[in-house]
């Protein structure tokens, strides 16, 4: 419990493939650099496929990915600034967007990631110990969540799914509130308006419409706040997500569609819902998209900032596909051994989002004993605080089951409540 989480992550040899942009795309990329500004060149629109992220080698019509097929292999066309080996690569489209991220800022992101991994593992442990009913681990997705969430402003608003606990952490959600719903004491954890983040939506994709509507409201208000919708790869197949893209494009809503492609929807590989990269979907709706290495906190930060900037400048929605990997089970109830290829899982361990930052910091001489001690301490303290908070959560009073159905009591429900109170009283009397 007290140990730093990173220490327990197995660390296999690093394979040969890398996340760099294909060399062959370099020329086209440079051509583009000349005639478009940075924020535009990095995004893909189907009208202009010569921007770097979309200039793929022409290919035959997409081959069917048959149901049950393996999840797609390593992405070969994602935006990346930090390799798994911890090497900072430069990228003409992205560098400017993280120019302010110096060593201190990097250390802060590092700290965030370590803390949220620690919290995530702690929550998993709490579930295993019977203190939580369920937990959806985010192991492996720390960079996607921290990198995007830390790019937001206070007055932006997040609409997420259930797995975005690192986002919630970055938004400032109280640690006890993080586990409330998973302990079953309430149906959601916190006051959305206090932190600028709605509580999780379990119905897959439904929140993307809320984000779009919120963003439409920002336009009406003349505010430059942005709504961010987090959702998974599986969610992209739900009607709601597609309708959200229609509305966002039509109303040029300042919304960022942040899709964490963690390769799975429970057991189903991403290839089952998309025969092409998910980032290719949005341009057809008139929404530019970015495909980014979701395990690279710098690239995620840059991409999110590009999208936020577009939104604030009135250019409307952007779609980001953060390519990552769900290293844990879908939830603590899941048995991934039934469908996960251990070799692939191992490959992804090599692309750990935290380790590469650690390596970068190390290469700069910033991974000092002080830093790791402080970070570990912070993570341990956070985990302990969350655990304490969790164990302190009690079942709410019985009659509270009737509260908050409406904003004001109704005679109908007051009657049921009163009858149930009479019923409970019977046992007290006895």
């Amino acid at each position: 419990m007290g140990r730093r989480s990173l220490a327990v992550v197995p660390w296999p040899d690093i394979g040969q493939w890398c996340l760099e942009l294909h060399k062959s795309d370099g020329a086209a990329m440079e051509r583009n650099m000349l005639r478009q500004d940075v924020s535009r060149t990095a995004v893909r629109t189907s009208a202009d496929h010569r921007v770097p992220v979309t200039d793929r080698t022409p290919q035959e019509p997409p081959l069917r990915v048959s149901p049950g097929a393996e999840p797609a292999g390593p992405p070969d066309d994602v935006l990346q600034l930090l390799t798994p080996e911890g090497v900072r690569r430069s990228h003409a489209d992205l560098d400017d967007w993280v120019a302010d991220v110096g060593d201190d800022e990097l250390a802060a992101l590092y700290e965030d990631m370590v803390v949220v991994r620690r919290l995530d593992l702690e929550a998993t442990a709490l579930q295993r110990q019977g203190e939580l009913g369920l937990w959806p681990p985010l192991l492996g997705q720390e960079a996607a969540q921290v990198g995007s969430a830390r790019a937001l402003r206070r007055d932006d608003f997040v609409f997420s799914s259930y797995r975005e606990n690192a986002v919630a952490y970055c938004r400032g959600v109280d640690l006890t509130d993080l586990v409330r719903v998973w302990r079953g004491t309430t149906a959601s954890g916190w006051d959305p308006f206090a932190v600028g983040m709605a509580t999780p939506t379990i119905i897959i994709g439904a929140q993307t419409l809320h984000a779009t509507g919120y963003a439409m409201g920002c336009v009406k208000d003349g505010a430059d706040s942005v709504a961010v919708a987090y959702f998974g790869d599986g969610a992209t197949s739900e009607g709601d997500v597609n309708e959200a893209m229609v509305f966002a494009a039509t109303f040029r809503a300042p919304v960022v569609f942040f899709c964490q492609n963690n390769q799975f929807a429970i057991s189903e590989p991403v290839g089952l819902v998309a025969v092409r990269p998910l980032a290719d979907r949005a341009p057809g709706f008139g929404i530019p998209s970015l495909r980014v290495d979701g395990n690279d906190v710098l690239a995620v930060t840059a991409a999110t900032r590009i999208a936020l900037d577009r939104a604030r400048r009135g250019e409307g929605p952007t779609f980001i596909e953060a390519v990552t990997y769900r290293r844990g089970p879908h939830t603590t109830s899941d048995d991934p051994t039934r469908y996960v290829d251990p070799a692939v899982a191992e490959e992804w361990c090599a692309k750990d989002p935290i380790l590469r930052v650690e390596r970068l910091l190390e290469s700069r001489g910033r991974l000092t004993a002080e830093l790791t001690a402080a970070v570990t301490e912070h993570a341990d303290a956070a985990a302990a605080e969350m655990r304490r908070g969790c164990l302190g959560l009690e079942a709410p009073p019985p009659l509270s089951v009737f509260d908050h159905v409406y904003t004001a009591p109704t005679s109908w429900l007051e009657r049921q409540k009163s009858q149930y109170a009479a019923y409970l009283a019977m046992f007290e009397e006895a």
Binding site: A187, H210, T250
Partner: protein, 335 residues
């Protein structure tokens, strides 16, 4: 006071709401430039601009889902579902999000959304244009469900619904859109609470509970019965969830006989809840079991058959005879 059709009374209600509160926005398919297929939003986009009266893409889940987002941002959206049968693509958002958000967040998030749905049959329309889906919503905790039967209620209740901090599904009796009546648009909104049922006609013999399009039919039935010396007390429920059961109960305690009529299918319709609840509460005052006169348990039929599906004066009076123990269609019937 002005004489308005029910549709115009709704328009004027919307207009007032838009004027009174800058956070009110109207949205839906064809509600802007066209003014809605029933012209209920006629002229509003012209006067309030496309930012407040928005034509939306053709996607009901999208309409309701983005309206939820607008609520988060402090707006009070009034969305139009073009016809009753087209609400189902939005059902998920309504049941899993709109109805549950306030409960889910223990009051932190309010969803002051109004969903306007023209409903009911009798207009000779094609499939999906004549349905009465209210029971799906009245079975959904967290939603308020109301309907209106006359221009004054249409005007006032719509404004009440929009002012209400809860989500309200507002059913508009489309075949009564052209019914005219006096409307006082200055009547204070809190005169009659939205939740309150109304006694439309007084009578001592039978309580006849209904709502929306069948209120006029029920009143016709009461007038006809009066000629036979039978006093029917017609109650217009107005609010379908919560139901003002106290008013129904009071009437039934007086008459001892209850008929409920609605266009929706019988099986699990709102009539079942009212019959069951009233039986629970007034069993020993009832002379006969409550009778229901409803659409049959078939999909809404083709236009040329709808006269058989829809309750009318004769079928209501037959049920009145039944609860009075008089000769009726089931006298001697063997099932």
């Amino acid at each position: 006071m002005a004489t308005l059709t029910l549709a115009a009374a709704l328009t004027s209600g919307l207009r007032h709401a838009l004027e009174d509160d800058p956070k009110v926005v109207v949205m839906g398919e064809d509600v802007g430039r066209l003014g809605g297929v029933f012209r209920v939003t006629d002229g509003l986009q012209k006067d309030f601009g496309p930012d407040r009266v928005m034509d939306t893409p053709l996607a009901e889940s999208g309409i309701v889902g983005t309206a939820v987002g607008l609520c988060y941002r402090g707006y009070r959206p009034v969305v139009e579902i073009q016809f009753d049968g087209f609400v189902f693509p939005a059902f998920d958002q309504l049941v899993t999000q709109v109805a549950k958000l306030h409960y889910r967040t223990r009051g932190a998030v309010r969803v002051p959304l109004t969903v306007r749905i023209p409903y009911g049959g009798g207009i000779g329309a094609v499939e999906h244009h004549s349905e009465s889906p209210e029971a799906y919503f009245t079975h959904t905790s967290g939603l308020r469900v109301v309907t209106c039967s006359n221009p004054q209620d249409a005007h006032t209740m719509l404004r009440q619904a929009i002012a209400c901090d809860d989500p309200v599904v507002f059913f508009e009796p489309k075949r009564r859109y052209w019914t005219k009546g006096e409307v006082d648009t200055d009547a204070p909104l809190d005169d009659v609470p939205m939740e309150q049922a109304r006694v439309v006609t007084r009578g001592d013999d039978v309580t006849l509970v209904t709502y929306g399009p069948l209120v006029a039919t029920a009143v016709d039935a009461a007038l006809a019965a009066r000629e036979d010396g039978i006093g029917i007390e017609v109650l217009d429920l107005r609010s379908l969830s919560p139901v003002d059961l106290a008013t129904v109960e009071e009437s039934v305690r007086h008459t001892g006989r209850l008929v409920i009529t609605h266009e929706a299918q019988q099986h699990g319709g709102l009539g079942a809840e009212i019959a069951a609840s009233i039986t629970e509460r007034c069993f020993f005052h009832l002379e006969q079991p409550p009778a229901r006169v409803t659409g049959f348990d078939v999909p809404y039929p083709a236009a040329k058959l709808e006269e058989h599906f829809l309750p009318d004066v004769d079928r209501i009076l037959d049920a009145v005879d039944r609860v009075l123990g008089r000769q009726n269609s089931l006298t001697g019937w063997k099932g």
